[in-house]
Subunit: 344 residues, 2 copies
DNA sequence: CTGAAAGCGCTTACAG
DNA sequence: CTGAAAGCGCTTACAG
């Protein structure tokens, strides 16, 4: 593995010139630059990242922390971030919180402090103030996706508005009996998405003077099979069944659609289903949903971090509280329609 | 951010002793060790990764390269690798090939050569000999998951055997009209899984003296919606429809199950479906499948890399060709049964 | 057991 | 425009 010295020798210049030429800096003659580039190419020279970091204090590497890589939201968001980072020559080292609390501790009190990363991005992790303090000690920019973090930058959709919009769509179609299958607070998420989305639903129902029956409300985890089970229960009794269900996540909605079919009900003729997310499978299921462009969130957050890193005000109080409201959109497909005639 | 010098001063020893004490080396008195640990804790000292790397040549970091993080196989495998790496204090920096060929080039000719990683793990990417040479230049251990790579270590299931086993299961149940919906060579995978799995199917059919009709064979991408479409086509004509379908991936099988239902067919009473993978949703769909423990593969590969890194023979010819056969297993659920009476 | 010092491979003022 | 040299923050023979 050739070092900078080898390149310098081959090019007949000093290592300083090699460094400047390769970094594309000014004050290097065209000839010197050419010779250096030729020598570097010939030797297959790539500057050592650790030496670069030592000398400059820059790691050209972003740390991404998330709870579960193997789930749609997180991996999609991660993909978005990686896409923009690689474009800018940055590496991405990633930390999966998983289910072991010890891991979380080590990540925030050790891994992230090794100065291997220039900035930190968390996906759906509610940082404790202690964890944030650790990050601040390093004076490294930070941004969290998924919900507000006091004292730090964050980017998230408005969960209340999403729940409200989804419910309003159903109401506008003429539904009056509308159920909500939401997540369980604190389970699938560290923020309060499930509660907020439900509040949006309640607000919309209230505003339309619609009653909410107890049996129309259910809680479950964000998964197809749980959505399936709960929906069967809710739709099983024809006397109490709602004519439309707002599922707080698309994965729940997929389960709901399959459950309705298994009960012999047609979607949307007999029951309307709406979700939140615009999951990669939503198109296939014909699911009407509130889109939140998850990949876009990862991209946007990564860009913000890069801007912070290249900005002038790096150094003093890098982490201030600032909330970025991520836009949502109603995507209408074939899972919602007017209620059955018998219920109008 | 405290440096090693601050710790040394506070503990009243030299930086050499701090280093040794914190690294848990011998030849440090109990008292010195205690003082150092107390000082380090008080200052919240964590050694800089780049300085450590400079001094030792070790990055305690593994590079993982994969085509698409946002898909089940890859993210699950990645999770497995991350789980064991974090346990051993290693970071994981990951590279997503994505759809841009330029990215792939940069990753193999630049990112991976910055000496930021001690070893490289690829998931389902078929390294070119040129790419492998780049890796070998760094003298860093490498292992590829998903298929054989000439000149390097690899870990993969036997795709031929899996296709054969799946088909044999169907044959053992009494099916004689068996279809196969496979992937498209070179599309979802860089190896030849689709072809190999189909060959296994053909071998099993041959061995049982069973005919394969043209209309029983179809190719599609590894996705639910494509599986759905193709299955509807195959099962739509009752005169030519097989009584069982071997899907070369679970995601195809999910689509097949939904398609069968939409056609008014019961699974498994009217048609049996079997897949390969044991995807996280297979349990929900009651899918009989050939399990390949994807997370386990990520874990195993990461462990092998760690062993190589800590082994004695690091240095000379680290990357030799060696294929590890990953075990598979038949997991029988409710999507397969005897063929309908009319077809026995 | 412990410390002084060299060295890891770069970048960047500082002179020239 | 270019080079000699210091310095980034650790680890580790080498002496003692």
């Amino acid at each position: 593995m050739a070092g900078i010295f080898d390149v310098a020798k081959l090019a007949g210049v000093s290592t300083a010139t090699v460094s400047r030429a390769l970094a594309g800096k000014d004050h290097v003659s065209a000839k010197a630059r050419e010779k250096v580039e030729a020598a570097a190419a010939e030797l297959g020279y790539v500057a050592s990242a650790s030496a670069y970091t030592m000398a400059t204090g820059r790691a050209r590497n972003i740390g991404v922390v998330l709870p579960h890589v193997d789930r749609w939201f997180f991996s999609t968001c991660l993909l978005g971030a990686e896409n923009v980072l690689i474009e800018h020559g940055y590496d991405l080292t990633f930390y999966n919180l998983g289910s072991k609390p010890e891991n979380r501790d080590r990540i925030f009190s050790e891994f992230l402090l090794r100065k291997r990363v220039d900035a930190v991005l968390t996906i759906a992790v509610r940082l404790s103030q202690e964890e944030l303090r650790n990050l601040n000690l390093m004076k490294k920019p930070f941004i969290g996706i998924g919900g507000p973090i006091s004292g730090a930058r964050s980017l998230a959709m408005d969960d209340f508005a999403a729940g409200k919009l989804a419910t309003e769509h159903l109401i506008a179609l003429g539904h009056t009996k509308i159920g909500n299958i939401g997540g369980i607070g604190g389970f699938d998420t560290e923020f309060n998405q499930p509660l907020l989305r439900r509040s949006g639903y309640e607000a919309a129902m209230d505003a339309a003077n619609l009653e909410i029956k107890k049996s129309w409300i259910a809680e479950t985890t964000f998964s197809i099979d749980h959505g399936y089970r709960v929906t069967k229960q809710m739709l099983g009794d024809p006397r109490n069944a709602p004519t439309a269900i707002f599922c707080s996540a698309d994965e729940i909605a997929f389960g709901a659609i399959i459950a309705a079919k298994d009960l012999g009900m047609r979607v949307p003729e007999d029951v309307s289903i709406i979700g939140i997310d615009d999951h990669e499978m939503s198109e296939f299921f014909g699911l009407t949903t509130i889109s939140q462009d998850v990949k876009g969130q990862g991209e946007a957050a990564a860009k913000m971090l890069l801007d912070l890193l290249n900005g002038p005000d790096l150094g003093e109080a890098v982490n201030i509280e600032k909330r970025f409201d991520w836009p949502i959109e109603l995507t209408v497909r074939s899972s919602t329609a007017r209620p059955p005639a018998t219920h109008r």
